[in-house]
């Protein structure tokens, strides 16, 4: 086990050495990979930022609860408590029927008509701001509230949520397609790098075969190299995104100041960054594996 570990560390270190023994071509390789990955990853970061902005600042979904006309004070206290305890409810504001009528008078200018009414036709109501923003979860919440006693009608305005979701879905799909295409590019770049390496190391491979090296032993350094190149390419992509966001943010602040708003672009979460590195390392490994399985068997000792 210890020998096995030492072996792998050695192979990794020699891959690292090989990588830095041709610094310029290695640099260009990771730049190509980095740029290819930074396009979809950068678009994803932008999309996430837009999503955040839309959910937090532009509008949040609102649910109106209209109570029955015969609701008692006790019922209202109960509903109040239930709403406050509910996990999905962020804020709930009670609007008494008198206040609602008053507002109606002021906003519509129908004072005379309303004044002529014998009694207040409006019910007591709650304006609920949910913590969730997902359309289907909101619908579930609506149905749940509907079933509470003394609640006559629940109104949920889903229009903008659905629009936003559709736009985000569209954006995500575009990013997915782009990622797949550029992921192939990464695999292709690694495939070619490893192919060249196999050709230049033909003699070493041949000799190793002759003195009893297993295929796994011969494959290993190439796979590590592909992994390393992918990993560094991913790191380059992350670096490119960070620099771009930094530059955009300094310009963005001038823009938001004019609108007296406060908004900055945020870096992707640690999970997303790790996922990027992991994915690019995997793709590099895959490119190397394809290349090795395509080219290595052709080198047979003679």
């Amino acid at each position: 086990m210890k020998n096995w570990l030492i072996l792998h560390v050695h192979v990794f270190l020699s891959a690292l050495r090989k990588f830095f023994s041709t610094p310029l071509s290695s640099l260009f390789n990771i730049l190509v990979i980095g740029i290819a990955l930074s396009l979809p990853a950068g678009m994803y970061v932008m999309l996430k930022n837009i999503q955040n902005l839309a959910e937090q600042k532009i509008a949040s979904p609102q649910i109106s609860l209209f109570l029955s006309m015969d609701t008692s004070k006790d019922d209202i206290t109960r509903i109040d408590r239930q709403l406050k305890q509910h996990a999905a409810v962020g804020q709930a504001r009670f609007v008494p029927r008198e206040q609602a009528l008053e507002q109606l008078k002021q906003t519509t200018g129908l004072e005379d008509v309303i004044g002529g009414l014998e009694h207040n036709p409006l019910p007591d109501a709650y304006i609920v701001h949910p913590k969730i923003s997902d359309a289907s979860a909101l619908k579930t919440l609506k149905h749940e509230l509907q079933r509470w006693p003394k609640i006559e009608h629940v109104q949920l305005d889903l229009d903008w949520v659905q629009k936003l979701e559709a736009i985000l879905k569209f954006g995500l799909m575009a990013i997915l397609i782009l990622s797949m295409l550029l992921g192939f590019a990464l695999v292709a770049v690694t495939f070619n790098t490893i192919r060249l390496q196999i050709l230049t190391q033909r003699e070493e491979i041949e000799v190793s075969r002759l003195i009893g090296a297993t295929s796994a032993f011969i494959r290993r350094p190439f796979l590590y190299f592909g992994l390393l190149q992918g990993l560094l390419g991913g790191a380059a992509a992350w670096f490119i995104i960070s620099i771009s966001l930094y530059m955009l943010n300094s310009n963005l602040s001038q823009l938001t100041d004019l609108y007296s708003a406060n908004f900055t672009l945020h870096l992707p979460s640690t999970e997303d960054q790790l996922a990027l590195l992991l994915l690019s390392a995997c793709l590099g490994w895959m490119g190397a594996w394809l290349s090795v399985s395509q080219h290595l068997w052709k080198i047979e000792p003679r």
Partner: protein, 217 residues
């Protein structure tokens, strides 16, 4: 230890390089393969190391039928052999030490132990003080000795040498043969091919004479 029964080898194109070869080489024996170039010496050595497969017949090495061996088991079979090539097959992108340590790395050998073994092997062929040099800096005879050091470093039970003295003058070949004789004395099985009839006279090893792909008694 090595047993050939009715072995034929035909290369694509219909040329029969070996015809109906049968012989047995016992443990710790030193055997010379003689014959002109093109007689099939190299092919015969390649068949023993499973670099080539026979067209018919069977080859047993340590009781294992290597004409039936699977590709996955091939590396482990080859570790029983030390191979010495006429063209050395050294790697010129690394030091002499790195060249010799390669077979041990392949066998996943302990790091410190392998350094000891490499130095012992280099000492045996008289290259101990050159371990940091590049093989390109060595003379032809020294390169051949380096190739021998690499072949013996994992202490194989069988040494196969294809024309080890082919390109060397008599002084150098004498040195190489002296090294081989010392391995023979410690019980290593040796199969050495040569076209140098003069050399055979100096040793009392058995000679397998090949002529046009056939064994002549």
């Amino acid at each position: 230890m090595i047993q050939f029964s009715n072995v034929c080898k035909r290369y694509p194109g219909g040329i029969d390089v070996l015809k109906n070869i049968s012989f047995t080489i016992g443990e710790a024996e030193m055997v010379f393969l003689s014959g002109h170039s093109g007689a099939g010496k190299s092919t015969l050595l390649k068949l023993i190391a499973a670099i080539e497969r026979p067209s018919s017949g069977s080859i047993l090495v340590n009781g294992q039928n290597i004409s039936l061996i699977k590709d996955g088991a091939l590396p482990f079979l080859r570790r029983n052999f030390g191979l010495i090539f006429q063209d050395h097959k050294l790697l010129y992108d690394r030091s002499i030490f790195e060249n010799v340590v390669l077979p041990l790395k392949i066998c996943d050998f302990d790091h410190r132990e392998s350094a000891k073994r490499v130095r012992a092997a280099l000492d045996k062929v008289g290259l101990l003080n050159r371990e940091k040099a590049n093989p390109i800096a060595l003379s032809g005879g020294e390169q051949q000795r380096l190739c021998i050091a690499r072949a013996i470093v994992n202490r194989p039970s069988i040494l196969l040498a294809d024309e080890p003295t082919g390109n060397l003058d008599t002084e150098y070949s004498g040195e190489i043969m002296k090294i081989f004789r010392s391995f023979h004395q410690v019980g290593v099985t040796l199969v050495i091919s040569t076209h140098d009839e003069g050399m055979l006279g100096q040793f009392n090893g058995r000679v397998l004479a090949l002529k046009n792909g056939e064994l002549h008694p």
